[in-house]
């Protein structure tokens, strides 16, 4: 592509590109400013945060990592607990959604009887229902069935998140040629073996797309766990951050800044490791729409 371009590109256009590059670099710095400000405030004393939030830390106001240590370890409800629950809920929910809905989608696409069709269309329908529509009744139902602990809340996530996942997996299964599964069946594979050793490996791209979507949803979700979980005993990271905001002024601001940074770090790591899949997943998911 660049070679083809070289025929038409004039030196004048190259300077234009440099200028735009510099402008974009400046814009990028401004774009990251909110995060940068919170980052350097997390190394400052409480007094200097309240006095001048935009001032960089100096030798007097710099406190090293003590805000981080305080934030994570102390308080009525230490942050490491919230982080642990967030991590557990995200991993288990995503795994559960991927395994269960891919199996369900295969059943729906291959059996294709009246009941499967009904389930499929209900799943499609559920995608357009906003959470506020079910928030009260869902939290009630979850409480009555004792799904209000981090250990069992993945079932609620599976239920509310099934729609999109089933829809995406069904779209993919329908594009898999049947011959492969027929060959497996002729060779004596039962449905379980066919699914796990033949169908599932072929689904890999969709598995990754669905996985990325679910991780981003569950990790950042606030209202569902807030309403479903027993608040006094269990918090997730978003609930913890909102709790700190609610007690604005009464909490250690330095520690709060540190905790905000700590809740962004996993996201940045996640982005850097899965960048390709995240970008591809968004582009593919939307184009198929």
């Amino acid at each position: 592509m660049s070679q083809k371009h070289a025929v038409y590109v004039k030196p004048k256009q190259e300077t234009w590109k440099t200028v735009v590059g510099i402008v974009l670099a400046l814009v990028s710095v401004f774009y990251m400013m909110p995060i940068i400000v919170v980052l350097y405030n997390s190394f400052k004393t409480n007094a200097s945060i309240n006095l001048s939030a935009f001032a960089l830390p100096n030798s007097e106001t710099f406190v090293g990592f003590s805000n981080f240590v305080n934030g994570v370890m102390s308080g009525q409800y230490p942050f490491y607990q919230s982080a642990g629950y967030s991590l557990y809920i995200t991993i288990v929910s995503t795994a559960l959604i991927i395994v269960c809905t891919s199996m369900a989608a295969w059943y729906i696409a291959r059996v294709d009887d009246a009941f499967s069709k009904i389930v499929y269309y209900l799943c499609v329908f559920s995608m357009i229902v906003p959470f506020q529509m079910v928030m009260y009744t869902l939290s009630r139902t979850a409480n009555r069935l004792h799904l209000d602990t981090p250990w069992l809340i993945p079932i609620v996530y599976l239920g509310f998140g099934a729609g999109l996942a089933v829809f995406m997996f069904c779209g993919f299964v329908k594009s898999i040629p049947l011959d492969i599964e027929e060959a497996a069946a002729i060779d004596g594979c039962g449905p379980i073996r066919t699914f796990f050793s033949v169908v599932l490996p072929m689904m890999k791209p969709t598995l990754i797309s669905v996985g990325v979507l679910e991780i981003m949803w569950v990790w950042n979700d606030y209202l569902l766990p807030y309403l479903v979980l027993d608040r006094k005993r269990f918090m997730t990271i978003p609930i913890h951050i909102e709790y700190l905001r609610g007690s604005y002024g009464h909490v250690d601001m330095g520690a709060t800044m540190a905790l905000i940074i700590l809740s962004i770090v996993p996201i940045i790591i996640f982005y850097l490791t899965c960048q390709k899949h995240i970008i591809a997943g968004i582009a593919a998911g939307v184009v198929k729409g």
């Binding site: 389930v119 529509m133 009260y136 239920g159 449905p191 950042n220 951050i241 909102e242 982005y271 582009a283």
Partner: protein, 303 residues
């Protein structure tokens, strides 16, 4: 394209070899998801519709009152204000986000050095959840503005717009980049050879070709704004409050989702009204979604 995939010719799936053995495994393959779906969606949804016709503080004391909740919801000045406020946020953020995202995407597909890095920077805020993101901006605004963001209605409005742009420009940019990459290279080259200026190429070739992306992004930003909750709650809490002549309280920066939430949980006597509002909200969001489906699929046929 999708319809073709759905209307499978009868007999394509080998019944004896594939369909029946899978069907026998119903309990393993479909039942777990279906059971969870009933708990997590189907029952709460139907129960929610039922409760929207009832007066209740808990589901056990629900009393059927027909359309009273709906009448009260539609008469509620706070709910009406939230609707128009949401629409205003949605329209302004829609225009700003799409113009900015398209501009950035256009520049980043011109082969500028460091494009990958810039793409990452603009996309990153999208991965941060609404609560953390809203709180970061709350802290920034409180340090930056002469008065707290919860005290001035216009601060709350432009604050929300800023946060929405910051969060979504990167996401829409990714979609536009994918669209722009799909513009055929030879078409652009042909236009250049024919003597078209950069602007003419953009308006006559690039934009018409990425029209599907524009439709998708328009609707995505629209639904995102209508469903917005976390950022609204954290950034300005619907404040400042205003009292009407009749003594009713209006939360001046409250959007629909937050209005519904507050109706439910600030006063247990108005839960029926809250559920009726939620049903109306669902219908509104569903209409937008169906409109989007219609439009995007018509576009596909034309291509």
């Amino acid at each position: 394209m999708k319809r073709k995939a759905l209307a499978r010719r009868p007999g394509t799936v080998n019944s004896r070899l594939i369909r029946r053995p899978i069907q026998r495994m119903f309990f393993l393959f479909l039942l777990p998801t279906f059971a969870a779906f009933c708990i997590g969606f189907l029952y709460p949804f139907l129960h929610g519709i039922y409760l929207s016709f009832c007066k209740f503080t808990t589901p056990s004391n629900a009393k059927w009152i027909w359309f009273d909740n709906y009448a009260r919801a539609l008469r509620d000045p706070g709910f009406r204000h939230a609707f128009w406020y949401t629409a205003l946020v949605a329209v302004v953020s829609l225009i700003l986000i799409n113009v900015l995202a398209f501009t950035v995407a256009y520049l980043l597909t011109r082969g500028i050095r460091g494009s990958n890095f810039f793409r990452g920077v603009f996309f990153l805020p999208n991965l941060i959840g609404g609560i953390v993101l809203g709180y970061i901006w709350r802290l920034i605004f409180d340090a930056l503005l002469p008065q707290s963001i919860v005290l001035v209605t216009s601060f709350g409005y432009w604050g929300l717009i800023t946060v929405l742009c910051w969060q979504q420009v990167g996401y829409m940019m990714i979609i536009y980049i994918a669209g722009l990459m799909a513009v055929p290279e030879d078409m652009i080259e042909a236009a250049k050879i024919d003597g078209a200026s950069g602007w003419q190429t953009l308006t006559h070739i690039t934009i018409p070709t990425v029209m599907p992306s524009i439709t998708i992004c328009t609707f995505l930003t629209l639904t995102n704004s209508f469903k917005l909750f976390d950022q609204n709650m954290v950034l300005n809490e619907g404040r400042p409050f205003l009292f009407t002549a009749t003594g009713e309280q209006i939360h001046t920066t409250e959007m629909l989702a937050l209005n519904i939430y507050n109706t439910f949980y600030q006063n247990s006597n108005s839960r029926g009204v809250g559920q009726a509002k939620a049903v109306l909200f669902f219908i509104l969001v569903a209409v937008i979604a169906i409109l989007q489906f219609r439009l995007t699929h018509r576009k596909e046929v034309q291509q």
